[in-house]
């Protein structure tokens, strides 16, 4: 997937048309307050401001393979401070989602966890806090999955001992069939369609 570095003028258009909230970057004036406000800016390869410029410059591979677009904690500080009113967080989430749809997954853990999270909502309508981390751990494979689970076990046991684990398996909501129909429709009607 490594880029050839060639200028690609169609990328901004691709983002505007396919990425949720992607067109919002047109308003960016490169002030950098989003970068200065981000709690994980020091962990990002490109802060949001640079991501927006790279999109305009057509640097598709750098943007789609950046770890920045998967490191958003959804704290909304960038959004409240942006003087041009850009919902920076929504753009970052949109880019991350678009990348995953296209099979470009720079931060495997978050993509896998979020994917399992969504699957559970789609299948039962709610999140079962005790099985979700297990499912996520086992995605790594059986042996590393068991290892990760054992590392997290002391925390799980403490939660259990302090009545903070729901023992019964989470049941499907009553309206799950309708919810699925709605979510299928929402997927189809969303930006860029279902594919």
């Amino acid at each position: 997937m490594a880029g050839n570095g060639n200028y690609d003028p169609s990328f901004a258009k691709e983002v505007f048309e396919n990425v949720d909230s992607g067109e919002e970057i047109k308003m960016c004036m490169q002030c950098g307050i989003c970068a200065g406000s981000c709690p994980l800016r020091h962990e990002m390869d490109y802060p949001p401001r640079q991501i927006f410029t790279l999109i305009r410059a057509g640097r598709r591979d750098e943007v789609m393979n950046s770890r920045a677009i998967k490191l958003c904690t959804s704290c909304y500080r960038c959004k409240v401070r942006c003087p041009r009113g850009i919902p920076v967080i929504d753009v970052m989430h949109g880019l991350a989602h678009y990348g995953i749809k296209k099979g470009i997954i720079p931060r495997k853990g978050t993509a896998a966890f979020g994917g399992e999270f969504w699957k559970m909502i789609y299948n039962i309508g709610r999140i079962d806090e005790k099985t979700l981390p297990l499912k996520y751990n086992l995605l790594e494979g059986l042996v590393p999955g068991i290892k990760s689970t054992l590392e997290m076990a002391p925390m799980g046991i403490q939660m259990f001992l302090h009545h903070r684990m729901k023992l019964l398996p989470e049941r499907k909501i009553k309206g799950i069939k309708d919810l699925k129909k709605m979510l299928d429709k929402a997927k189809e009607m969303g930006k860029g369609g279902a594919s």
Binding site: D20, P39, L40, E43, K70, L71, C72, T73, S74, C75, Y76, R77, K79, V80, P87, D90, H93, G94, A96, H97, I100, R107, G109, T110, A112, F113, G114, F117, W118, K119, I121, Y122, G125, R126, I127, D128, E129, K130, P133, M155, Q158, M159, H162, R164, M165, E170, I173, K174, G175, D178, L179, K181, M182, L183, K185, A186, K187, M189, G190, K191
Partner: protein, 293 residues
């Protein structure tokens, strides 16, 4: 005062102490809470990995539409993540007719309709603005007698809309703490993100965030941290061992929900109502010393 309650997934599990304590506290303040029937998950902060914006909005529009079809009260969300997801959907659908029409085509699959007749509010908003400081003071029979509390606000509790408090310098949490006799310490990191939904998958990157918050609370004299979000509570309390292992620190700071402290101050049972025994880092000693018993 009647409200719809949207408790969400966490308040039935990891954030159970929030639910156990908020119910008697709200009741004591004359607030009646009715659960939204057959609610679904709000999508939280991480669903974008598996779904587009419209799908996540659909989750929240369904919950609001169910509430709208059964009554006309405001929706109260105690979990900051649920709150922001519901609020965002409510805002955007009320403002954007085209989007609202789109969502209503989707909701029709389940014979529901979003009208935009309700407000979505955080529990803190309702405690502060509807119940009010005077009423909370009048219910306080066991003052916390100057207990030094770090009132951690977190992110999604007030950001991005700032509906009931400043997005940069919030004061509501501290005002509520003062009303029950606590002494909220100045705490610059009260708005720093705890890592939220990516904590589990980006552990090494997020432990540092929690370390900074705990350090700041302690440096400012706090004996205990108060939160109003199950994600914040989980990350701040349950990862202290991992923070200690990574940074060589020795944090052992109790983390409770604001409603647990309120239940204590209202003279309620420390276990069945204040749910203090649900905390993994025990807060009982500090709290009992403060209330004198």
């Amino acid at each position: 005062m009647k409200y719809f309650l949207y408790g969400g997934c966490s308040l039935e599990a990891g954030g159970k102490n929030y639910m156990v304590s908020l119910e008697p506290v709200c009741k004591a303040l004359g607030m009646e809470l009715e659960e939204i029937e057959d609610w679904n998950c709000c999508g939280a902060s991480i669903s974008y990995a598996g779904a587009n914006e419209l799908s996540i909005m659909t989750l929240n529009a369904r919950n609001i539409a169910i509430a709208e079809s059964t009554g006309g009260y405001d929706i109260v969300a105690p979990c900051s993540s649920c709150y922001i997801q519901l609020l965002k959907t409510n805002h955007e659908l009320k403002e954007d007719e085209e989007l609202r029409n789109k969502i209503n085509v989707i909701l029709k699959e389940g014979n529901l309709n979003f009208k935009g007749s309700l407000n979505v509010r955080h529990l803190m908003d309702v405690l502060y603005n509807d119940a009010g400081i005077d009423k909370i003071k009048s219910k306080t029979v066991k003052s916390l007698n100057g207990l030094k509390v770090a009132g951690y606000v977190g992110c999604q509790t007030v950001r991005p809309y700032g509906e009931y408090d400043s997005v940069e310098r919030p004061k509501v949490h501290d005002q509520l703490l003062k009303a029950i006799g606590a002494d909220p310490v100045p705490f610059p990191k009260k708005m720093q993100c705890c890592g939220s939904g990516i904590f589990l998958t980006e552990l090494d990157r997020c432990l540092g965030l929690v370390k900074e918050i705990l350090e700041d609370a302690i440096a400012n004299g706090a004996q205990i941290i108060s939160t109003v979000c199950p994600m914040c509570a989980l990350n701040l309390e349950m990862y202290q061992d991992k923070v200690n292992a990574k940074f060589g620190t020795s944090f052992n700071m109790p983390v409770v929900y604001l409603t647990q402290l309120m239940a204590v101050a209202f003279g309620m049972d420390l276990k069945s109502e204040a749910a203090l025994d649900y905390c993994v880092i025990p807060p009982e000693g500090i709290i009992k010393a403060a209330i004198g018993g």
